[in-house]
């Protein structure tokens, strides 16, 4: 009887192309992902149907449940410039290490007198730093200075970015490079606390504000 021959193929498949593709995608997502830096406060943002994505070049003011105010400015260069002008105004002395740390830090919330001590701490200790947030009442309004100096610094860095984009031969829109003002409020925070911050913005004639929200499906 003739034997029926079945072709004997190797049970293993060549996985190389698949691996290539997988790693290509991993690399792409890794590079395109921007990591959220650890924030000193946890904020549970309210939901809305808005689908506008958060813009670049932003000044973010955070208000937590207790009504404490935190500040953040995007961009390393802008942060350096901001700290320089703030240290000048409040005649605070800071060494190079502290300035470097500030440039790479994210959100913070403390008064100018607390700032050098705050900068000396490790990231984990910063979370536990006992602070009342940035003072923003009428007697001591440091937030106003942070915002106005931050606005100036962000305008400068935006300008450089605009010129760079123009030199590359793109047709950038000027408005994309202007600083935007973002409020990150906790959904349980009292609105009157947010209003204090909003009034600071309005005092500086910055009336176009954005609230960070998480997505919610729109009703049809």
């Amino acid at each position: 009887m003739p034997k029926i021959k079945t072709p004997k193929g190797s049970p293993s498949i060549d996985m190389t192309p698949m691996v290539d593709l997988a790693f290509l995608l991993v690399t792409f997502f890794m590079l395109s992902a921007s990591f959220r830096s650890s924030e000193p406060v946890d904020v549970d943002v309210p939901t809305s149907i808005s689908d506008k994505i958060i813009p670049e070049n932003v000044i973010v003011v955070t208000i937590d449940v207790k009504g404490r105010v935190f500040f953040n400015l995007a961009g390393e260069e802008a942060r350096r410039e901001l700290l320089e002008s703030m240290a000048n105004k409040y005649s605070a002395k800071m060494n190079k290490d502290q300035k470097d740390k500030f440039a790479f830090m994210s959100t913070f919330g403390c008064s100018m007198s607390e700032l050098p001590a705050y900068l000396n701490l490790e990231a984990n200790a910063q979370k536990k730093f006992p602070t009342l947030g940035i003072p923003c009442d009428s007697t001591k309004n440091e937030l106003k200075d942070w915002i106005s100096f931050g606005n100036r610094a962000a305008l400068n860095s935006g300008k450089t970015a605009y010129v760079e984009a123009k030199n590359k031969g793109q047709k950038p829109n000027v408005n994309d490079f202007k600083p935007k003002f973002i409020l990150r409020v906790d959904s349980k925070a009292l609105y009157k606390d947010a209003q204090k911050v909003i009034d600071v913005f309005r005092d500086l004639n910055l009336n176009n504000l954005n609230f960070i929200t998480s997505m919610e499906l729109a009703p049809i």
């Binding site: 190389t16 790693f23 943002v45 309210p46 809305s48 009157k192 954005n210 609230f211």
Partner: protein
């Protein structure tokens, strides 16, 4: 899924000692597992972590020096007074008790954040814009108008006299969630003019008496 060493089966047992010829192929399975794990992780985090923003334009502060700026007469306006998880509202102008309007002093109505509450109220109040939007929507679908014309028409409709205008005031107990939720409802109802303004003391009294 281990690799098979091909064709080497018999020769190894024939006494002669040969240097073991190991396969040049490596088992890639664990690596692939890891690669896909990372891939899944990055895909998921990348799409879900983008926060959204809702922009809101506040009215410019009036310089206290030029006090006598006449408040523009607002017609077809509704004022929402926010308190903790409650919405009070009145339409038109505010008439205090000592200066009653044609229908007596202003009385507050109460509504809630549900679909039958504020959403229905706004949909009824802003019928003009919503019906206009429907017309433009169908025109857009039939490709009679362009995207840009659609947006321009919508903007014009929102600024029309017949469109509803909204003022928002909130008392000390309102939370940010209440505020954002209300703004959200206004955006759903296609309200074009939204003005968050300060609460007047008389209005606050009205709210407090309503809560009791």
């Amino acid at each position: 899924m281990a690799e098979m060493v091909e064709g080497g089966g018999d020769s190894q047992h024939k006494g002669k000692k040969r240097a073991k010829k190991s396969s040049t192929r490596v088992d890639m399975t664990p690596m692939v597992d890891l690669a896909f794990l990372l891939l899944t992780f990055f895909v998921l985090t990348a799409t879900f972590s983008k926060p959204k923003v809702m922009s809101l334009i506040y009215p410019a502060k009036i310089d206290p020096k030029d006090e006598k700026v006449d408040q523009p007469k607002i017609n077809n306006a509704i004022t929402f007074l926010l308190s903790k998880d409650k919405i009070y509202y009145y339409s038109g102008q505010f008439y205090p008790v000592d200066k009653p309007g044609p229908n007596g002093p202003t009385k507050l109505e109460v509504t809630n954040f549900g679909t039958n509450g504020v959403r229905k109220l706004l949909a009824d109040g802003n019928k003009y814009v919503l019906s206009e939007k429907k017309i433009y929507n169908s025109q857009l679908k039939k490709k009679e108008i362009q995207d840009s014309t659609y947006l321009r028409h919508l903007l014009e409709a929102k600024k029309n006299k017949k469109a509803l205008k909204v003022l928002i005031k909130s008392d000390d107990k309102a939370t940010c969630k209440n505020f954002i939720d209300l703004i959200d409802e206004l955006k759903i109802a296609e309200i074009g003019v939204i003005a968050p303004v300060e609460l007047m003391p008389q209005e606050n009294e009205l709210i407090q008496s309503k809560i009791k």
